[in-house]
């Protein structure tokens, strides 16, 4: 009786590993098929009529090496924009999602405001918001507010991505069954406590993958701040290509973005897997 849960868990794990395969033969087949596929792809590209020219303008190793250090330095600005914006986005978005989940007619104005905000900033193209705020806001000459383009670029990104991320959080909150809140309230927890200890932890766990999706999107969109004149990776690579008429610096910038986003994606996958293993080992479909 006591080992009931354990036995079920073992059974489920065994079942899963059979479905996923994983024996030596399967590994060999997938390896061979991968090699064959990429060989075919490489052959098709290198035998295209325009390949010699493309190789010269996009895959110039010398150009790559000479432009890379400066682009990498400029990329630090992208990282900075991303990191600062992200901190604000995760907090503000959660606040807005919670506002939207408040029940009762008293909170209608707050709910309406949150809905209007999300609708508006998800509807306007990112590049427009950045342009409007980046070029318009400094012209207001507000006291005690920075006029730097980077600052307003960050504000624009925060406004846009908070709208997206608040929707993600909201979906997470709504996916937690009402019986969970009822159970928490029945123990004497206030609505706020139930939200904090019971609903939100479950909601946030469930939305980690879509959340990461938005983080990657944000990371890429930091390049849009370049239109305001800030010298970030994309702007720097554009300066380089303008000087040499060679497009290889674009690839250098792209490599830098990918170098950050891919590890981030794998890291999140690992987090999700760890959480699932810990909690759901015993769940039988």
């Amino acid at each position: 009786m006591a080992s009931e849960g354990d036995r079920r868990a073992d059974l489920e794990v065994a079942r899963r590993s059979r479905i996923l395969g994983g024996d030596a033969r399967a590994v060999g087949v997938s390896l061979a098929s991968t090699i064959f596929f990429f060989a075919l792809l490489a052959f098709a590209i290198t035998h295209a009529p325009g390949w010699p020219e493309v190789r010269q303008t996009f895959f110039d190793w010398h150009e790559f090496k000479s432009s890379f250090p400066e682009i990498a330095r400029a990329f630090l600005l992208n990282v900075k924009i991303f990191s600062i914006a992200e901190c604000f986005i995760v907090t503000l978005a959660l606040l807005i999602a919670v506002l939207r989940s408040l029940p009762g007619p008293v909170f209608f104005p707050l709910r309406a405001l949150a809905i209007a905000y999300a609708d508006f900033f998800r509807g306007v193209p990112t590049i427009l918001v950045i342009a409007i705020l980046g070029f318009g806001a400094p012209a207001l000459q507000l006291k005690h507010v920075p006029t730097s383009t980077t600052f307003w670029g960050i504000v624009a990104l925060v406004l846009i991505y908070t709208a997206y991320v608040s929707e993600v959080y909201r979906a997470g909150i709504e996916s937690v069954h009402p019986s969970q809140e009822a159970a928490a309230r029945s123990l004497g927890l206030s609505r706020g406590q139930a939200l904090r200890y019971v609903v939100l932890p479950q909601a946030v766990r469930r939305v980690v993958p879509p959340l990461l999706n938005d983080f990657i999107g944000l990371q890429k969109d930091t390049a849009l701040v370049g239109i305001l004149g800030a010298i970030e990776a994309f702007n720097q690579s554009q300066i380089d290509t303008d000087a040499t008429f060679n497009y290889t610096p674009y690839l250098a910038a792209a490599a830098l973005f990918v170098a950050i986003t891919i590890p981030l994606a794998r890291f999140t996958d690992a987090l999700i897997l760890r959480d699932r293993r810990r909690r759901q080992a015993g769940r039988v479909a």
Binding site: M1, A2, E4, G5, D6, R8, A9, S179, Q180, A182, A183, A184, R185, S186, L187, G188, L189, S190, Q193, Y197, V198, P201, Q202, R205, R278, R279, Q280, A281, G282, R283
Partner: protein, 247 residues
């Protein structure tokens, strides 16, 4: 003074009248079982007592204090009333120990050490001593339901409401949960129990109430209700239960 007093409690969901005037008193240390077909209002009645559902009219009085008054602090009232649900409703993202200590710490302001000591003692009392660090999904249904009972008990309630706590369990796991309830009754816990387990109700109840279409149609000691029910509807209901082999 009775532990719980309901006076003409009514509750509708939209046009559906679920409770149509319930009068019921439960004395200290009394175990009252609610029986009746699905949809007769048993669960709604329990949920109203816990204020999960607001009543439309009528009064509910707990230990002399009316809890259906306007402006009453529901959080304070719920502390004194434990409820256990059919579907366990454990918090899946917390270990068993954390499930049990959450409310004592967050609501009663107990220290972590104090709350955990109390929780471990309760878990041990109900045969769950080695389960404290497990997550709910690792446990069998019977174990989960026992944890849910322990979680409610950790708040030291004066009254326990059990809402068909064995209905979601595999048949072989029912006994261990009933054993826990038996122990609670022996310890003098005041309980209001909605159940489909007629044999159990007969054994444990001081009084059995038959609910039919939102009213208590008949009530009395189990021996009377189960062997000499007066109302034709009660007789029909029990005949169906017997025919289904459930008694």
């Amino acid at each position: 003074m009775s532990a719980l007093e309901l006076e003409s409690v009514r509750k509708s969901f939209g046009r559906l009248e679920v409770l149509r005037g319930i009068d019921l008193g439960v004395a200290e240390h009394e175990v009252v079982c609610l029986i009746g077909a699905s949809g007769s209002g048993k669960s709604t009645l329990l949920r109203c007592v816990n204020l999960i559902e607001p009543v439309d009219s009528g009064r509910i009085v707990v230990e002399g204090a009316e809890i259906t008054r306007r402006g009453v602090d529901v959080n304070t009232i719920r502390r004194r009333i434990g409820i256990v649900f059919q579907a366990f409703n454990l918090f899946p993202h917390m270990s068993v120990l954390h499930n049990v200590t959450l409310a004592p710490r967050a609501v009663l302001g107990r220290s972590r050490r104090e709350a955990e000591a109390g929780a471990r003692e309760l878990l041990a009392r109900f045969g769950l001593a080695d389960k404290g660090d497990d997550y709910p999904d690792r446990l069998s249904g019977g174990q989960q339901q026992r944890v849910a009972i322990v979680r409610a008990l950790a708040m030291e309630p004066q009254l326990m409401l059990l809402d068909e706590v064995t209905s979601a369990l595999d048949p072989e796991l029912v006994a261990e949960v009933l054993e826990v309830i038996r122990e609670l009754a022996a310890g003098g816990m005041t309980m209001l129990i909605a159940t489909h387990e007629m044999g159990f109700a007969r054994e444990i109840a001081d009084r059995v109430c038959f609910l039919d279409e939102g009213v208590i149609l008949e009530q009395g000691p189990p021996a009377q209700i189960f062997t000499r029910p007066r109302e034709p509807r009660t007789q029909q209901f029990l005949a169906r239960i017997v025919a289904a082999g459930r008694m």
